[in-house]
């Protein structure tokens, strides 16, 4: 039991911080101003929760280093695990959480919503995300999905005085709930087929399929996959993304675009390629890689074309997030166990590695945009970015760098993400996906236009007068936590962009743990034997 708990330490650290914040916050006096929403007394919850997230990240790194040699260690009667994959993504979402916490305090005060619950909710969401990537059964996965989603719904609608924010939260909630229901529906079919909810049980059932199983399997997998496609905002399930991204508080937009996307893809990998490996996977009537590849191409093209026409930086980044979901879906093709990749020891690094690059660029971009949220305004329109390079050089530089990274231009991490992805997808089945890759690079050129347009606004256009009739210049937020978050993410983009070896190695090992079905079953059997022994 202690061993089981030890594996989940990172999650508990975050959970405890969240609970403490929630319980202690009502006892804090609301001094300083008559409006509690503008109070500075909640400010320290940001660094406090960020420290918890970073602590959890450190523990995850420690577990990675000292952890058992086998690929995964299963705990709690096979319902949750600590594998290289889960630890990688736990660390990633902890990073997302830390950045969200660091960038939020001043922003919340400026926007008049400095409530302590905000920080608790972010930490709850981080806990949910971590649990979701650690889940080894459909049940755990659903529960953690809901913990994450409910927290994020509330956070999106957190600025309750703003109609846009509430509408965004509502839209996201309704679409998200339908997705959860669809997930549950699919999970029910898989449960009916295997008599259990854990991935090990599903794998076992698929080894000795009975007649009719193929139908239930296909139905279940299709429904579960559709739910994930909603969460990653793939076309045609992307409609919620622009509104939710634009309406949400800026730090939350960054947190969502980096964190939610990352865990959705990680869980997707785990379910469709982890749980469904084995001879039973041949029963699937859906040609999953082909479906994914086609969806990918449509998603990236639609995302990029719509992003071209957006004027607000936040809304533009929402469509860009859709486009990146498209690139990642194509990367999923290479992670498929059925794919034959010549000359690769452990393929499948593309998705985690790309997600790392995307998450860092996205966090950096939204951290920089957070600095624009002054006095209840969101200065993310094109005219409001003019001259940002002069008036807030750091935010300008970080935003520009993250755009370059999202466009995939060296020497940034975004380039290597794209390179590794192209490399793996091109290797599948002797270049069968070459047309998709060509469409991908053409899409990159299209996307470069709207990413560069942001840098044009920052550096190259003359600064006009304010268009909103007020005097003086726009004022931006300057704060230590924000500065640190921007600096650290930007430095990571550049350093990992020049020397990506370590990051690729880590991503490769994390991906390898999805693919080793034999090892999984072996470990699962050992764990069951241990359980039996204790009884």
């Amino acid at each position: 039991m202690l061993h089981d708990l030890a594996l989940l330490t990172p999650l508990f650290v975050v959970l405890l911080a969240a609970l403490f914040t929630l319980v202690a916050d009502p006892f804090l006096p609301a001094h300083g101003t008559s409006l509690p929403a503008l109070s500075t007394s909640r400010r320290f919850w940001g660094p406090f929760n960020a420290a918890a997230c970073l602590g959890a990240l450190a523990v995850a790194a420690l577990l990675w280093k000292t952890g058992p040699h086998e690929m995964r260690t299963v705990a709690f009667a096979l319902h949750i695990s600590a594998s290289k994959l889960s630890l990688f993504f736990v660390a990633l979402v902890c990073l997302c959480g830390a950045v969200a916490h660091l960038t939020s305090p001043r922003y919340l005060e400026e926007q008049g919503m400095a409530y302590g619950e905000y920080y608790a909710l972010v930490s709850f969401a981080v806990f949910g995300m971590g649990a979701m990537v650690s889940a080894e059964s459909l049940l755990t996965m659903f529960l953690s999905l809901e913990i994450m989603s409910l927290s994020v719904y509330v956070l999106v609608a957190f600025k309750r005085s703003s109609a846009a924010s509430v509408e965004a939260g509502m839209k996201y909630f309704i679409v998200g709930s339908v997705a959860s229901a669809v997930f549950l529906y699919g999970a029910a079919f898989l449960f009916g087929l295997s008599g259990g909810t854990t991935f090990v049980e599903i794998q076992r059932a698929l080894q000795n399929p009975r007649p009719g199983d193929d139908l239930w399997l296909s139905l279940g997998v299709t429904l579960v996959a559709a739910a994930f496609l909603v969460k990653v905002a793939a076309v045609p399930f992307h409609m919620w993304a622009p509104d939710a991204y634009e309406g949400a508080p800026t730090p939350i937009t960054g947190f969502m675009s980096a964190g939610v996307k990352a865990v959705a893809f990680a869980a997707f990998l785990k379910v469709v390629y982890g749980a469904l490996q084995g001879p039973g996977a041949a029963l699937l009537h859906v040609p999953l890689p082909k479906v994914l590849a086609t969806t990918a191409v449509i998603t990236m093209t639609v995302g990029n074309l719509f992003a071209l026409t957006q004027l607000s930086a936040k809304r533009m980044l929402a469509y860009s997030a859709v486009a990146h979901a498209g690139y990642l879906l194509l990367g999923m093709v290479a992670a498929s166990p059925d794919a034959t990749l010549s000359g690769f020891l452990t393929p499948g690094a593309a998705v985690p590695f790309y997600l790392l690059g995307y998450a860092l660029a996205s966090l950096a971009a939204f951290a920089a945009l957070t600095a624009l949220g002054h006095a209840g305004e969101e200065l993310t329109g094109p005219t409001q970015l003019l001259g940002l390079g002069r008036r807030h050089p750091l935010a300008g530089a970080v935003l520009a760098l993250s755009m370059i990274s999202l466009a995939g231009v060296p020497p940034t991490l975004g380039f290597f993400g794209k390179l590794v992805l192209i490399r793996e997808v091109l290797a599948v089945d002797g270049g069968a996906y070459l047309p998709h890759i060509v469409i991908l690079v053409l899409n990159s050129v299209v996307s470069a236009y709207y990413y560069l347009r942001i840098t044009v606004h920052i550096y190259m256009r003359p600064e006009g007068k304010r268009t909103d009739g007020k005097n003086g210049e726009h004022v931006y937020i300057r704060e230590t936590g924000l500065t640190w978050a921007m600096g650290a993410t930007a430095a990571a983009i550049l350093v990992l962009g020049a020397l990506p070896e370590r990051a690729i190695g880590v991503a490769t090992r994390s991906a390898a743990s999805v693919r080793t079905r034999a090892a999984t079953l072996h470990v699962a059997n050992q764990a069951q034997a241990r359980l039996a022994h204790r009884k």
Binding site: P410, L452, V456
Partner: protein, 544 residues
């Protein structure tokens, strides 16, 4: 088809003891990093630092020159270490007679550009210095990288600083120009990236150029891969009809940007063809020769005609680049020793003379804030030294004997005509290529005349005749700094023009070794009769 050729000229020397090339490539970035830490208000510090940085790099370039044995072919001064082992990318840098001239051109032009920028760049000096230093790293890295991933990274690293230089310090339509430059170039590069990754997978997870030349590829594969590589390089050169970004970029760029763009960046296109696209897919060059020949000739004539009708001096010089690079392309398509030597040298020449022209136009612009030809006239009276330099550089640009331009263009035409005439001695089948080559080169010669027409006409209209515009009365002549800059460039214009031996000798051995395996492979496809004849001649030569 058996495409694996033994290419001795791409043989990599064992690793050199001291990582000299790495130092050369990263030195500018090191100074850029130092520059980041100095506040931007200390403009003089950034001027001094960037000059010192580029001069140190120049010094390292001289050391590289001294240590490179140009008498033999093969990639030398190798730095080879592991970079990203998990995907098989290596940090492999090496130099030979093909890249050395351009490396020297780069390290020579960069300090001059910095000195020229003292007056041309009036704001954000810190950012400018950092951008240009990073750009120098990109240029030098592209020239010495022989691991294709390292090459690609350097190739793309050049993009962002140039984009910023045009976009921040440029003229009125700078945003349009810089976006066009970036997107155009990126479009070509990304298709090349797909080809690079395809080759990498095909070669068994290696990006090493040497290993790639050992691959057996089918004809169709070669054609597609060559197309992907060549498109990236042809856009960079730029060859008609991919040139439309160039006049805009040049016109809007600040003077230092134009000098670097014309002086070095365009050469990287022709360098890339010679280093990568042609050695990897020689038969595909044979296949594409007619098209490339036609495009080169159209570029020469069309560029010259467009230059003639421009009213803006800078735009005129930009179109003259399209025409001059057409000559270089003609030499590359001919692919014999004379033509290639000429093409390589003409690349350097164009960097010197067009770089000088852009600097001169920049001097004029700083004084009058206009570049319209009609605004000037008779200014030789007020600016005699300026006029003298301009006329001198014009002579180099229109390839007058005793200037560098003559040597380069003469060799290109000698080679190109030889390709047509020599072949026509072999009677019978396959005369179409020879005819094309002869006719094409014939038309191309008109480019020399047209070059004289537009350049001399601009000299006449700007410098001579009556001074009609009273605004020009107050013009002052070149300052000491400006004279020094022009003097440095003119020394080399004369040196190469009068005694080209040393400069041609730099690439002679490499070109010889390059032509030996590649020319038969190209001829085999584009003129089989000539191929058989040359085989016989070579056999005879060996028998003697």
């Amino acid at each position: 088809m058996d495409t694996a050729l033994t290419q001795a000229w791409l043989q990599l020397d064992p690793s050199h003891g001291f990582p000299l090339l790495t130092a050369l490539v990263l030195m500018p970035t090191l100074f850029a990093l130092i520059g980041v830490t100095i506040p931007g208000s200390l403009q003089w510090a950034h001027k001094a630092l960037s000059l010192v940085g580029s001069l140190v790099t120049f010094g390292l370039g001289m050391v590289v020159w001294a240590l490179t044995d140009t008498a033999r072919a093969g990639l030398q001064l190798t730095d080879d270490s592991s970079w990203i082992p998990s995907i098989g990318a290596r940090w492999t840098l090496a130099i030979d007679g093909l890249s050395l001239p351009y490396v020297l051109l780069t390290v020579f032009l960069t300090p001059l550009v910095f000195v020229g920028a003292w007056s041309a760049i009036d704001k954000k000096w810190k950012e400018f210095a950092i951008a240009l230093l990073v750009l120098e790293t990109g240029m030098l890295g592209s020239l010495v990288a022989v691991d294709l991933l390292a090459f690609y990274v350097f190739w793309e690293v050049m993009l962002v600083p140039m984009y910023l230089i045009i976009g921040i310090w440029g003229g009125r339509d700078k945003v349009y120009a810089t976006l066009k430059f970036f997107l155009y170039t990126m479009f070509g590069s990304l298709l090349m990236l797909v080809a690079i990754v395809w080759m990498y997978l095909h070669a068994g997870n290696t990006f090493q150029l040497g290993a790639w030349t050992q691959l057996d590829l089918t004809e169709t594969q070669q054609h597609w891969l060559f197309a992907a590589f060549a498109l990236a390089f042809l856009i960079k050169v730029p060859v008609f009809p991919f040139h439309t970004w160039l006049p805009d970029a040049h016109t809007e760029a600040p003077t230092p940007g134009s000098v670097i763009l014309a002086g070095v960046l365009l050469k990287l296109g022709t360098y890339g063809l010679l280093r990568f696209a042609i050695p990897l897919f020689p038969a595909a060059l044979g296949w594409a020769s007619p098209v490339l020949l036609a495009l080169a000739v159209i570029g020469i004539v069309y560029g010259a005609m467009m230059a003639y009708v421009q009213t803006d001096v800078k735009r005129l010089v930009a179109y003259s680049s399209v025409s001059h690079l057409g000559f270089v392309m003609l030499g590359i398509v001919a692919f014999n020793e004379e033509a290639l030597q000429g093409a390589i040298l003409q690349g350097v020449n164009h960097g010197l003379s067009t770089g000088a022209l852009f600097l001169l136009v920049g001097f004029l612009y700083e004084r009058r804030h206009t570049r319209e030809i009609a605004d000037f006239g008779g200014i030789a009276k007020r600016m005699p030294v300026f006029a003298a330099f301009f006329v001198f550089v014009t002579m180099s640009s229109i390839a007058l004997p005793l200037t560098n331009g003559f040597v380069g263009e003469f060799l290109i035409f000698a080679g190109a005509f030889k390709e047509g005439v020599r072949s026509s001695m072999a009677a019978g089948e396959g005369t179409s290529w020879r005819t094309m080559m002869l006719v094409g080169t014939g038309i191309a010669t008109s480019g020399i005349v047209l070059g004289a027409v537009y350049m001399l006409s601009v000299v006449r209209r700007v410098f001579f005749g009556p001074m009609t515009n009273p605004d020009n009365e107050g013009l002052h002549d070149l300052t000491g700094r400006e004279r020094l800059l022009m003097g440095a460039l003119c020394v080399f214009i004369v040196w190469i023009g009068v005694a080209p031996g040393r400069w041609l000798g730099m690439s002679e051995a490499t070109v010889h070794a390059m032509v030996q395996p590649l020319r038969p492979a190209i001829l085999q496809v584009r003129a089989p009769a000539d191929f058989r004849r040359e085989q016989l001649l070579n056999a005879d030569a060996r028998a003697e």
